[in-house]
Protein backbone atom coordinates (compact mmCIF):
# COMPACT_ATOMS: atom_id res chain seq x y z
CA UNK A 1 0.00 0.00 0.00
CA UNK A 2 1.17 3.51 -0.51
CA UNK A 3 2.74 5.13 2.48
CA UNK A 4 0.21 7.93 2.77
CA UNK A 5 -2.72 5.55 2.72
CA UNK A 6 -1.26 3.55 5.58
CA UNK A 7 -0.37 6.66 7.50
CA UNK A 8 -3.81 8.12 7.27
CA UNK A 9 -5.03 4.94 8.90
CA UNK A 10 -7.98 4.45 6.66
CA UNK A 11 -6.98 0.83 6.36
CA UNK A 12 -8.18 -1.69 8.90
CA UNK A 13 -5.42 -2.98 11.18
CA UNK A 14 -4.02 -6.34 10.12
CA UNK A 15 -5.31 -9.45 11.85
CA UNK A 16 -2.57 -11.87 12.81
CA UNK A 17 -3.83 -15.45 12.86
CA UNK A 18 -1.41 -16.65 15.54
CA UNK A 19 -2.26 -14.08 18.17
CA UNK A 20 -4.86 -14.42 20.84
CA UNK A 21 -5.23 -10.70 21.49
CA UNK A 22 -4.88 -8.50 18.45
CA UNK A 23 -2.95 -5.27 18.61
CA UNK A 24 -5.99 -3.28 17.57
CA UNK A 25 -8.00 -4.55 20.53
CA UNK A 26 -5.21 -4.20 23.03
CA UNK A 27 -4.69 -0.55 22.27
CA UNK A 28 -8.01 0.95 21.27
CA UNK A 29 -7.94 4.16 19.33
CA UNK A 30 -8.29 7.11 21.56
CA UNK A 31 -7.35 5.34 24.76
CA UNK A 32 -3.98 5.90 26.34
CA UNK A 33 -1.54 3.04 26.25
CA UNK A 34 -1.32 0.99 29.38
CA UNK A 35 0.97 2.50 31.97
CA UNK A 36 1.43 -0.69 33.86
CA UNK A 37 4.47 -2.69 32.85
CA UNK A 38 5.54 -5.86 34.53
CA UNK A 39 8.96 -5.73 36.06
CA UNK A 40 11.51 -8.33 35.27
CA UNK A 41 11.01 -10.16 38.57
CA UNK A 42 7.33 -10.69 37.85
CA UNK A 43 8.06 -11.86 34.35
CA UNK A 44 10.59 -14.34 35.61
CA UNK A 45 8.17 -15.72 38.15
CA UNK A 46 5.61 -16.11 35.43
CA UNK A 47 8.14 -18.00 33.34
CA UNK A 48 8.16 -20.87 35.79
CA UNK A 49 11.73 -21.99 35.32
CA UNK A 50 11.46 -24.85 37.78
CA UNK A 51 9.39 -26.85 35.34
CA UNK A 52 12.08 -26.64 32.65
CA UNK A 53 14.74 -29.39 32.44
CA UNK A 54 17.74 -28.78 34.65
CA UNK A 55 20.50 -29.23 32.11
CA UNK A 56 19.26 -26.65 29.64
CA UNK A 57 20.55 -23.21 30.49
CA UNK A 58 18.10 -20.45 31.19
CA UNK A 59 18.16 -17.11 32.96
CA UNK A 60 18.31 -18.45 36.49
CA UNK A 61 20.77 -21.26 35.82
CA UNK A 62 23.60 -19.19 34.58
CA UNK A 63 24.05 -16.98 37.56
CA UNK A 64 27.58 -17.05 38.87
CA UNK A 65 27.69 -19.19 42.02
CA UNK A 66 29.32 -18.04 45.26
CA UNK A 67 33.05 -18.05 45.57
CA UNK A 68 34.89 -21.31 46.13
CA UNK A 69 37.58 -19.65 48.19
CA UNK A 70 37.09 -18.89 51.89
CA UNK A 71 35.86 -15.35 52.44
CA UNK A 72 37.38 -12.74 54.72
CA UNK A 73 35.91 -12.69 58.18
CA UNK A 74 35.09 -9.36 59.73
CA UNK A 75 34.31 -8.52 63.34
CA UNK A 76 30.61 -8.22 64.00
CA UNK A 77 30.96 -5.28 66.39
CA UNK A 78 33.80 -3.15 65.08
CA UNK A 79 34.16 -4.16 61.46
CA UNK A 80 37.90 -4.86 61.60
CA UNK A 81 39.37 -8.11 60.46
CA UNK A 82 38.36 -10.83 62.88
CA UNK A 83 40.50 -13.91 63.29
CA UNK A 84 38.60 -15.19 66.36
CA UNK A 85 35.13 -16.56 67.09
CA UNK A 86 33.48 -16.64 70.50
CA UNK A 87 32.46 -20.25 71.13
CA UNK A 88 29.47 -19.39 73.28
CA UNK A 89 27.73 -16.87 71.09
CA UNK A 90 29.43 -17.54 67.74
CA UNK A 91 30.16 -13.85 67.20
CA UNK A 92 33.40 -12.86 65.50
CA UNK A 93 35.66 -10.41 67.31
CA UNK A 94 38.96 -8.67 66.64
CA UNK A 95 40.43 -7.72 70.04
CA UNK A 96 40.29 -8.72 73.69
CA UNK A 97 38.42 -5.46 74.48
CA UNK A 98 35.79 -6.33 71.93
CA UNK A 99 35.60 -9.77 73.47
CA UNK A 100 34.75 -8.24 76.84
CA UNK A 101 31.93 -6.34 75.20
CA UNK A 102 30.69 -9.45 73.42
CA UNK A 103 30.44 -11.39 76.67
CA UNK A 104 28.49 -8.58 78.30
CA UNK A 105 25.86 -8.32 75.58
CA UNK A 106 22.27 -9.33 76.39
CA UNK A 107 20.97 -12.27 74.40
CA UNK A 108 18.67 -10.16 72.27
CA UNK A 109 21.59 -8.09 70.97
CA UNK A 110 23.55 -11.22 70.19
CA UNK A 111 20.74 -12.58 68.04
CA UNK A 112 20.43 -9.27 66.23
CA UNK A 113 24.14 -9.15 65.43
CA UNK A 114 23.97 -12.68 64.10
CA UNK A 115 20.89 -11.90 62.07
CA UNK A 116 22.81 -9.12 60.32
CA UNK A 117 25.13 -11.76 59.03
CA UNK A 118 22.26 -14.18 58.33
CA UNK A 119 23.74 -16.52 60.91
CA UNK A 120 21.01 -16.43 63.56
CA UNK A 121 19.45 -19.74 64.54
CA UNK A 122 15.70 -19.29 64.69
CA UNK A 123 13.97 -21.61 67.10
CA UNK A 124 10.23 -21.76 66.67
Amino acid sequence: MEADVVRSEMVLPPVMPFKRVQMGDKYQKGQSRGRYWKHLKQLLQAENFISLPLDEPNYLNIESPPSMYPSKKYCDITGFEAPYVDPRTKLRYADPEVFKRVRNLPNEHVQRYLALRNAAVIIR
Binding site: A3, P14, M16, P17, F18, K19, M23, R33, W37, K38, H39, L40, L43, L44, A46, E47, D55, E56, P57, N58, Y59, I62, E63, S64, P65, P66, S67, M68, Y69, S71, K72
Partner: protein
Amino acid sequence: MGMERSSVVVLDNGGGILKAGFGGETDPVAVVPNCIGRPPSSKKWLVGDQLQADDADVTGVSLRRPIDRGYLINPEVQREVWDRVFRSLLNLEDLSQSSLLLVEPLFNPPSLQRSADELVFEEFGFGSLCVADSPSLVHLYEASRAQGPAVASLVVDCGFSFTHAAPVMQNLTLNYGVKRMDLGGKALTNYLKELVSYRSLNVMDETLLIDHAKEQLCFVSLDLQHDLRLSRKSGKENILKCTYVLPDGVTHTKGFVKDLNEARRYLSLPDGTTNCTTDLASKMGEMGGQGDTDKAEDRRKVDLTQNEFVLTNERFLVPEMLFQPVDLGMNQAGLAECIVRAVNSCHPYLHPVLFQNIILTGGSTLFPRFAQRLERELRPLVLDAYEVKITCQENPILGVWRGGSLLASSPEFESMCVTKAEYEEIGSVRCRRRFFH
Protein backbone atom coordinates in the same frame (compact mmCIF):
# COMPACT_ATOMS: atom_id res chain seq x y z
CA MET B 1 30.11 10.04 -5.55
CA GLY B 2 26.95 8.90 -3.91
CA MET B 3 27.71 5.87 -1.78
CA GLU B 4 24.67 3.73 -1.62
CA ARG B 5 23.77 3.02 1.95
CA SER B 6 22.85 -0.55 2.51
CA SER B 7 19.35 -0.96 3.76
CA VAL B 8 20.27 -2.90 6.84
CA VAL B 9 19.89 -1.06 10.11
CA VAL B 10 22.13 -2.45 12.83
CA LEU B 11 20.78 -1.72 16.28
CA ASP B 12 22.54 -2.64 19.49
CA ASN B 13 19.89 -2.24 22.15
CA GLY B 14 21.97 -1.69 25.20
CA GLY B 15 20.70 -0.97 28.69
CA GLY B 16 22.78 2.16 28.99
CA ILE B 17 23.70 3.26 25.52
CA LEU B 18 21.92 2.46 22.29
CA LYS B 19 24.04 2.21 19.16
CA ALA B 20 22.36 2.44 15.77
CA GLY B 21 23.62 2.78 12.26
CA PHE B 22 23.75 1.18 8.85
CA GLY B 23 25.33 -2.15 8.09
CA GLY B 24 28.70 -2.13 6.43
CA GLU B 25 29.95 1.05 8.03
CA THR B 26 32.69 1.30 10.62
CA ASP B 27 30.93 3.51 13.09
CA PRO B 28 27.34 3.81 14.16
CA VAL B 29 25.52 7.01 13.31
CA ALA B 30 23.78 7.34 16.64
CA VAL B 31 25.27 6.56 20.03
CA VAL B 32 22.66 7.79 22.48
CA PRO B 33 21.59 6.94 26.00
CA ASN B 34 18.69 4.52 25.95
CA CYS B 35 16.29 6.35 28.21
CA ILE B 36 13.89 9.22 28.39
CA GLY B 37 14.15 11.85 31.05
CA ARG B 38 12.16 14.75 32.35
CA PRO B 39 13.88 17.67 34.04
CA PRO B 40 11.95 18.73 37.14
CA SER B 41 11.21 22.17 35.76
CA SER B 42 9.57 21.22 32.49
CA LYS B 43 6.78 18.92 31.38
CA LYS B 44 8.43 17.74 28.23
CA TRP B 45 10.21 14.41 28.11
CA LEU B 46 13.67 14.55 26.62
CA VAL B 47 14.51 11.51 24.53
CA GLY B 48 17.90 9.92 24.00
CA ASP B 49 20.42 12.33 22.63
CA GLN B 50 18.46 15.38 23.71
CA LEU B 51 19.76 14.58 27.17
CA GLN B 52 23.31 14.89 25.93
CA ALA B 53 22.83 18.27 24.30
CA ASP B 54 24.86 21.15 25.63
CA ASP B 55 21.96 23.19 26.84
CA ALA B 56 20.11 20.38 28.54
CA ASP B 57 19.79 20.74 32.27
CA VAL B 58 20.53 17.33 33.69
CA THR B 59 20.29 17.98 37.39
CA GLY B 60 17.47 16.12 39.08
CA VAL B 61 16.26 14.58 35.86
CA SER B 62 13.92 11.67 36.47
CA LEU B 63 14.84 8.91 34.06
CA ARG B 64 12.76 6.13 32.71
CA ARG B 65 14.51 3.20 31.10
CA PRO B 66 12.85 0.67 28.83
CA ILE B 67 15.43 -1.93 29.74
CA ASP B 68 15.40 -3.43 33.21
CA ARG B 69 18.42 -5.60 34.08
CA GLY B 70 19.21 -5.99 30.43
CA TYR B 71 15.82 -7.15 29.16
CA LEU B 72 13.36 -5.02 27.25
CA ILE B 73 10.27 -4.86 29.43
CA ASN B 74 8.82 -1.53 28.46
CA PRO B 75 8.11 -1.37 24.71
CA GLU B 76 6.32 1.96 25.08
CA VAL B 77 9.37 3.89 26.18
CA GLN B 78 11.52 1.92 23.77
CA ARG B 79 9.24 2.94 20.95
CA GLU B 80 9.80 6.59 21.73
CA VAL B 81 13.56 6.22 21.79
CA TRP B 82 13.59 4.20 18.58
CA ASP B 83 11.26 6.72 16.96
CA ARG B 84 13.68 9.48 17.66
CA VAL B 85 16.67 7.42 16.55
CA PHE B 86 15.15 6.18 13.32
CA ARG B 87 13.39 9.31 12.20
CA SER B 88 15.61 12.14 13.39
CA LEU B 89 19.07 10.64 13.66
CA LEU B 90 19.15 8.01 10.94
CA ASN B 91 16.72 9.87 8.70
CA LEU B 92 14.84 6.78 7.67
CA GLU B 93 11.50 7.47 6.13
CA ASP B 94 10.29 4.18 4.79
CA LEU B 95 11.14 1.37 7.13
CA SER B 96 9.44 -1.35 5.14
CA GLN B 97 12.35 -1.37 2.72
CA SER B 98 14.95 -1.93 5.41
CA SER B 99 15.86 -4.90 7.46
CA LEU B 100 16.84 -4.73 11.08
CA LEU B 101 19.64 -6.54 12.84
CA LEU B 102 18.75 -6.42 16.49
CA VAL B 103 21.18 -7.38 19.21
CA GLU B 104 19.40 -8.87 22.19
CA PRO B 105 20.76 -10.22 25.45
CA LEU B 106 21.18 -13.94 25.97
CA PHE B 107 18.34 -16.00 27.40
CA ASN B 108 15.60 -13.61 26.51
CA PRO B 109 12.34 -15.03 27.89
CA PRO B 110 9.77 -15.89 25.19
CA SER B 111 7.24 -13.30 26.34
CA LEU B 112 9.81 -10.56 25.87
CA GLN B 113 10.83 -11.95 22.51
CA ARG B 114 7.21 -11.73 21.44
CA SER B 115 6.83 -8.14 22.53
CA ALA B 116 10.08 -7.17 20.81
CA ASP B 117 8.91 -8.80 17.58
CA GLU B 118 5.61 -7.00 17.88
CA LEU B 119 7.42 -3.72 18.29
CA VAL B 120 9.63 -4.30 15.28
CA PHE B 121 7.09 -5.61 12.83
CA GLU B 122 3.80 -4.10 13.80
CA GLU B 123 4.70 -0.72 15.21
CA PHE B 124 7.59 0.17 12.98
CA GLY B 125 6.95 -2.12 10.06
CA PHE B 126 10.43 -3.27 9.19
CA GLY B 127 10.84 -5.47 6.17
CA SER B 128 12.75 -8.23 7.88
CA LEU B 129 14.43 -8.96 11.16
CA CYS B 130 17.46 -10.86 12.29
CA VAL B 131 18.33 -11.30 15.95
CA ALA B 132 21.87 -11.79 17.17
CA ASP B 133 23.54 -11.96 20.55
CA SER B 134 26.50 -9.92 21.59
CA PRO B 135 29.24 -12.52 22.30
CA SER B 136 29.10 -14.03 18.84
CA LEU B 137 29.26 -10.62 17.22
CA VAL B 138 32.30 -9.65 19.26
CA HIS B 139 33.96 -12.91 18.32
CA LEU B 140 33.20 -12.29 14.66
CA TYR B 141 34.69 -8.85 14.77
CA GLU B 142 37.85 -9.89 16.57
CA ALA B 143 38.32 -12.91 14.35
CA SER B 144 38.20 -10.75 11.29
CA ARG B 145 40.90 -8.51 12.69
CA ALA B 146 43.24 -11.15 14.00
CA GLN B 147 45.88 -12.80 11.89
CA GLY B 148 45.35 -16.47 12.52
CA PRO B 149 42.03 -18.30 12.63
CA ALA B 150 40.44 -17.91 16.03
CA VAL B 151 38.46 -21.00 16.70
CA ALA B 152 37.08 -20.19 20.09
CA SER B 153 37.25 -17.31 22.47
CA LEU B 154 35.83 -16.25 25.79
CA VAL B 155 33.99 -12.96 25.58
CA VAL B 156 33.70 -11.03 28.83
CA ASP B 157 31.05 -8.39 28.35
CA CYS B 158 30.88 -5.90 31.24
CA GLY B 159 27.91 -3.88 30.22
CA PHE B 160 25.46 -1.59 31.89
CA SER B 161 23.06 -4.11 33.35
CA PHE B 162 25.17 -7.17 34.00
CA THR B 163 28.38 -8.95 33.13
CA HIS B 164 28.50 -12.13 31.10
CA ALA B 165 31.38 -14.48 30.59
CA ALA B 166 30.44 -16.35 27.43
CA PRO B 167 32.49 -18.90 25.51
CA VAL B 168 32.04 -18.65 21.79
CA MET B 169 33.08 -21.30 19.30
CA GLN B 170 33.02 -20.54 15.60
CA ASN B 171 30.44 -17.79 15.89
CA LEU B 172 28.14 -19.86 18.02
CA THR B 173 27.70 -18.97 21.66
CA LEU B 174 27.91 -22.02 23.88
CA ASN B 175 24.80 -21.54 25.95
CA TYR B 176 25.63 -23.94 28.69
CA GLY B 177 28.92 -22.27 29.42
CA VAL B 178 27.69 -18.73 29.98
CA LYS B 179 27.95 -17.34 33.48
CA ARG B 180 26.38 -14.08 34.54
CA MET B 181 27.16 -11.60 37.30
CA ASP B 182 24.43 -9.13 38.13
CA LEU B 183 26.87 -6.24 38.35
CA GLY B 184 27.29 -3.65 35.70
CA GLY B 185 27.68 0.04 35.05
CA LYS B 186 24.33 0.75 36.63
CA ALA B 187 25.25 -0.95 39.89
CA LEU B 188 28.60 0.83 39.95
CA THR B 189 26.96 4.20 39.49
CA ASN B 190 24.44 3.46 42.22
CA TYR B 191 27.20 2.46 44.59
CA LEU B 192 29.11 5.65 43.88
CA LYS B 193 25.93 7.66 44.46
CA GLU B 194 25.47 5.98 47.82
CA LEU B 195 29.04 6.59 48.88
CA VAL B 196 29.00 10.24 47.90
CA SER B 197 25.60 10.84 49.46
CA TYR B 198 26.73 9.29 52.71
CA ARG B 199 29.96 11.23 52.89
CA SER B 200 29.22 14.63 51.40
CA LEU B 201 26.38 15.90 49.22
CA ASN B 202 23.12 14.14 48.49
CA VAL B 203 23.35 13.09 44.87
CA MET B 204 20.89 10.21 44.85
CA ASP B 205 18.90 11.78 42.00
CA GLU B 206 21.75 12.76 39.76
CA THR B 207 22.36 9.60 37.79
CA LEU B 208 23.79 11.19 34.67
CA LEU B 209 26.17 13.45 36.57
CA ILE B 210 27.57 10.67 38.69
CA ASP B 211 27.90 8.54 35.58
CA HIS B 212 30.10 11.23 34.13
CA ALA B 213 32.12 11.53 37.35
CA LYS B 214 32.59 7.79 37.44
CA GLU B 215 33.88 7.70 33.88
CA GLN B 216 36.30 10.51 34.47
CA LEU B 217 37.64 9.68 37.88
CA CYS B 218 37.38 6.00 38.76
CA PHE B 219 40.17 3.53 38.21
CA VAL B 220 41.02 0.00 39.27
CA SER B 221 43.61 -0.40 41.97
CA LEU B 222 46.23 -3.10 41.68
CA ASP B 223 46.97 -3.40 45.38
CA LEU B 224 43.94 -2.61 47.46
CA GLN B 225 45.50 -2.40 50.93
CA HIS B 226 48.25 -0.11 49.72
CA ASP B 227 45.82 2.24 48.03
CA LEU B 228 43.55 2.31 51.05
CA ARG B 229 46.46 3.30 53.24
CA LEU B 230 47.41 5.99 50.75
CA SER B 231 43.96 7.48 50.70
CA ARG B 232 44.02 8.04 54.46
CA LYS B 233 46.89 10.48 54.25
CA SER B 234 46.20 14.17 54.34
CA GLY B 235 47.25 17.06 52.25
CA LYS B 236 49.82 16.79 49.53
CA GLU B 237 50.74 13.21 50.28
CA ASN B 238 47.29 12.00 49.36
CA ILE B 239 47.70 11.70 45.65
CA LEU B 240 44.34 10.09 45.10
CA LYS B 241 42.18 12.98 46.18
CA CYS B 242 40.33 15.04 43.64
CA THR B 243 37.28 17.26 43.43
CA TYR B 244 34.29 17.13 41.15
CA VAL B 245 32.24 20.28 40.63
CA LEU B 246 28.50 19.96 40.12
CA PRO B 247 26.71 22.26 37.68
CA ASP B 248 24.85 25.18 39.12
CA GLY B 249 22.80 26.11 36.09
CA VAL B 250 24.19 29.61 35.90
CA THR B 251 27.84 29.46 35.01
CA HIS B 252 28.05 25.89 33.81
CA THR B 253 25.44 23.31 32.98
CA LYS B 254 27.67 20.24 32.94
CA GLY B 255 29.67 18.88 35.82
CA PHE B 256 33.42 18.70 35.49
CA VAL B 257 36.53 17.62 37.33
CA LYS B 258 38.09 20.54 39.15
CA ASP B 259 41.67 19.82 38.24
CA LEU B 260 42.53 17.13 35.75
CA ASN B 261 46.20 17.09 36.67
CA GLU B 262 45.33 16.39 40.23
CA ALA B 263 43.06 13.59 39.10
CA ARG B 264 45.87 11.96 37.14
CA ARG B 265 48.43 11.97 39.89
CA TYR B 266 47.68 8.37 40.76
CA LEU B 267 49.17 7.21 37.48
CA SER B 268 52.62 7.81 38.82
CA LEU B 269 52.09 5.01 41.30
CA PRO B 270 54.13 2.03 40.21
CA ASP B 271 52.21 -1.18 39.83
CA GLY B 272 51.50 -2.46 43.27
CA THR B 273 54.90 -2.41 44.92
CA THR B 274 55.01 -0.49 48.18
CA ASN B 275 56.73 2.79 47.87
CA CYS B 276 58.30 5.13 50.34
CA THR B 277 56.17 8.19 50.76
CA THR B 278 58.91 10.79 50.76
CA ASP B 279 59.78 9.89 47.19
CA LEU B 280 56.25 10.36 46.05
CA ALA B 281 55.77 13.62 47.89
CA SER B 282 58.77 15.14 46.17
CA LYS B 283 57.54 13.98 42.79
CA MET B 284 54.17 15.49 43.51
CA GLY B 285 55.75 18.83 44.21
CA GLU B 286 56.51 19.20 40.53
CA MET B 287 53.10 18.24 39.24
CA GLY B 288 50.18 20.62 39.64
CA GLY B 289 47.74 20.20 42.46
CA GLN B 290 45.64 21.85 45.05
CA GLY B 291 47.62 20.43 47.94
CA ASP B 292 49.09 23.70 49.19
CA THR B 293 46.13 25.16 50.97
CA ASP B 294 44.97 21.83 52.37
CA LYS B 295 44.83 21.48 56.08
CA ALA B 296 43.44 18.59 58.05
CA GLU B 297 40.39 20.61 59.16
CA ASP B 298 39.57 21.73 55.65
CA ARG B 299 39.50 18.17 54.49
CA ARG B 300 36.77 17.27 56.91
CA LYS B 301 34.57 20.28 56.31
CA VAL B 302 32.35 20.05 53.31
CA ASP B 303 31.91 23.39 51.63
CA LEU B 304 28.25 23.32 50.73
CA THR B 305 28.25 26.68 49.03
CA GLN B 306 30.56 25.48 46.33
CA ASN B 307 28.55 22.53 45.04
CA GLU B 308 31.47 20.20 44.81
CA PHE B 309 32.53 16.99 46.45
CA VAL B 310 35.84 15.31 47.10
CA LEU B 311 36.59 11.73 46.15
CA THR B 312 39.43 9.73 47.63
CA ASN B 313 39.01 6.05 48.11
CA GLU B 314 35.70 5.87 46.26
CA ARG B 315 37.72 6.20 43.09
CA PHE B 316 39.01 2.67 43.31
CA LEU B 317 36.45 1.11 45.64
CA VAL B 318 33.71 1.40 43.07
CA PRO B 319 35.32 -0.74 40.34
CA GLU B 320 36.62 -3.04 43.09
CA MET B 321 33.07 -4.23 43.37
CA LEU B 322 33.41 -6.15 40.13
CA PHE B 323 36.25 -8.17 41.53
CA GLN B 324 34.83 -8.69 45.03
CA PRO B 325 31.03 -8.54 45.10
CA VAL B 326 31.11 -9.99 48.62
CA ASP B 327 31.96 -6.54 49.93
CA LEU B 328 28.57 -5.36 48.78
CA GLY B 329 26.76 -8.25 50.34
CA MET B 330 26.17 -10.07 47.06
CA ASN B 331 26.79 -13.74 47.43
CA GLN B 332 28.53 -14.15 44.09
CA ALA B 333 32.11 -14.73 43.18
CA GLY B 334 34.25 -12.07 41.57
CA LEU B 335 34.92 -11.60 37.89
CA ALA B 336 38.01 -13.81 37.80
CA GLU B 337 36.21 -16.76 39.32
CA CYS B 338 33.24 -16.20 37.08
CA ILE B 339 35.53 -16.59 34.08
CA VAL B 340 37.05 -19.75 35.50
CA ARG B 341 33.62 -21.27 36.09
CA ALA B 342 32.52 -20.37 32.61
CA VAL B 343 35.53 -22.08 31.09
CA ASN B 344 35.25 -25.10 33.34
CA SER B 345 31.74 -25.83 32.17
CA CYS B 346 33.01 -26.44 28.66
CA HIS B 347 34.77 -29.46 27.26
CA PRO B 348 38.29 -29.90 28.73
CA TYR B 349 39.89 -29.69 25.30
CA LEU B 350 38.61 -26.18 24.96
CA HIS B 351 40.11 -24.86 28.20
CA PRO B 352 43.56 -23.83 26.93
CA VAL B 353 42.08 -22.30 23.80
CA LEU B 354 39.59 -20.26 25.76
CA PHE B 355 42.11 -18.98 28.25
CA GLN B 356 44.34 -17.86 25.45
CA ASN B 357 41.63 -15.79 23.81
CA ILE B 358 39.88 -13.73 26.43
CA ILE B 359 38.26 -10.66 24.92
CA LEU B 360 37.13 -7.79 27.12
CA THR B 361 34.26 -5.75 25.86
CA GLY B 362 31.57 -3.48 27.22
CA GLY B 363 31.70 0.01 28.66
CA SER B 364 32.70 -1.00 32.18
CA THR B 365 36.04 -2.32 31.00
CA LEU B 366 37.18 1.20 30.21
CA PHE B 367 38.47 1.78 33.74
CA PRO B 368 42.24 2.29 33.64
CA ARG B 369 44.25 -0.80 34.65
CA PHE B 370 41.25 -3.11 34.36
CA ALA B 371 43.03 -5.68 32.22
CA GLN B 372 46.12 -5.68 34.42
CA ARG B 373 44.12 -6.31 37.54
CA LEU B 374 42.08 -9.04 35.88
CA GLU B 375 45.19 -10.82 34.68
CA ARG B 376 46.70 -10.57 38.12
CA GLU B 377 43.61 -12.13 39.69
CA LEU B 378 43.07 -14.72 37.03
CA ARG B 379 46.60 -16.08 36.76
CA PRO B 380 46.67 -17.87 40.13
CA LEU B 381 43.34 -19.55 39.40
CA VAL B 382 44.40 -21.11 36.12
CA LEU B 383 46.60 -24.16 35.66
CA ASP B 384 50.22 -23.35 35.09
CA ALA B 385 50.34 -25.09 31.74
CA TYR B 386 47.69 -22.86 30.20
CA GLU B 387 48.58 -19.48 28.90
CA VAL B 388 46.35 -16.57 29.88
CA LYS B 389 46.06 -13.81 27.36
CA ILE B 390 43.58 -10.97 27.69
CA THR B 391 42.76 -8.73 24.75
CA CYS B 392 40.93 -5.47 25.19
CA GLN B 393 38.90 -4.27 22.30
CA GLU B 394 40.02 -0.94 21.05
CA ASN B 395 36.55 0.53 21.45
CA PRO B 396 34.58 -1.59 23.91
CA ILE B 397 31.38 0.37 23.58
CA LEU B 398 31.14 0.06 19.83
CA GLY B 399 32.64 -3.41 19.61
CA VAL B 400 29.36 -5.30 19.42
CA TRP B 401 27.92 -2.85 16.93
CA ARG B 402 30.90 -3.25 14.62
CA GLY B 403 30.49 -7.01 14.71
CA GLY B 404 26.87 -6.53 13.76
CA SER B 405 27.86 -4.27 10.93
CA LEU B 406 30.21 -6.97 9.64
CA LEU B 407 27.49 -9.57 9.87
CA ALA B 408 25.04 -7.33 8.07
CA SER B 409 27.38 -6.85 5.16
CA SER B 410 28.09 -10.54 4.75
CA PRO B 411 26.39 -12.34 1.87
CA GLU B 412 24.54 -14.86 4.01
CA PHE B 413 22.72 -12.21 5.96
CA GLU B 414 19.67 -12.16 3.73
CA SER B 415 19.02 -15.83 4.27
CA MET B 416 19.17 -15.49 8.04
CA CYS B 417 16.41 -12.91 8.29
CA VAL B 418 12.75 -13.41 8.98
CA THR B 419 10.56 -11.31 6.74
CA LYS B 420 7.41 -9.53 7.77
CA ALA B 421 5.25 -11.79 5.65
CA GLU B 422 6.64 -14.87 7.34
CA TYR B 423 6.07 -13.32 10.74
CA GLU B 424 2.49 -12.51 9.92
CA GLU B 425 1.85 -16.01 8.81
CA ILE B 426 3.56 -18.22 11.31
CA GLY B 427 4.00 -15.98 14.30
CA SER B 428 6.76 -14.98 16.60
CA VAL B 429 7.58 -18.24 18.37
CA ARG B 430 8.17 -20.28 15.22
CA CYS B 431 10.17 -17.48 13.66
CA ARG B 432 12.46 -17.34 16.64
CA ARG B 433 13.44 -20.95 16.19
CA ARG B 434 15.44 -19.86 13.19
CA PHE B 435 17.86 -18.03 15.43
CA PHE B 436 20.14 -20.24 17.39
CA HIS B 437 19.35 -19.14 20.88
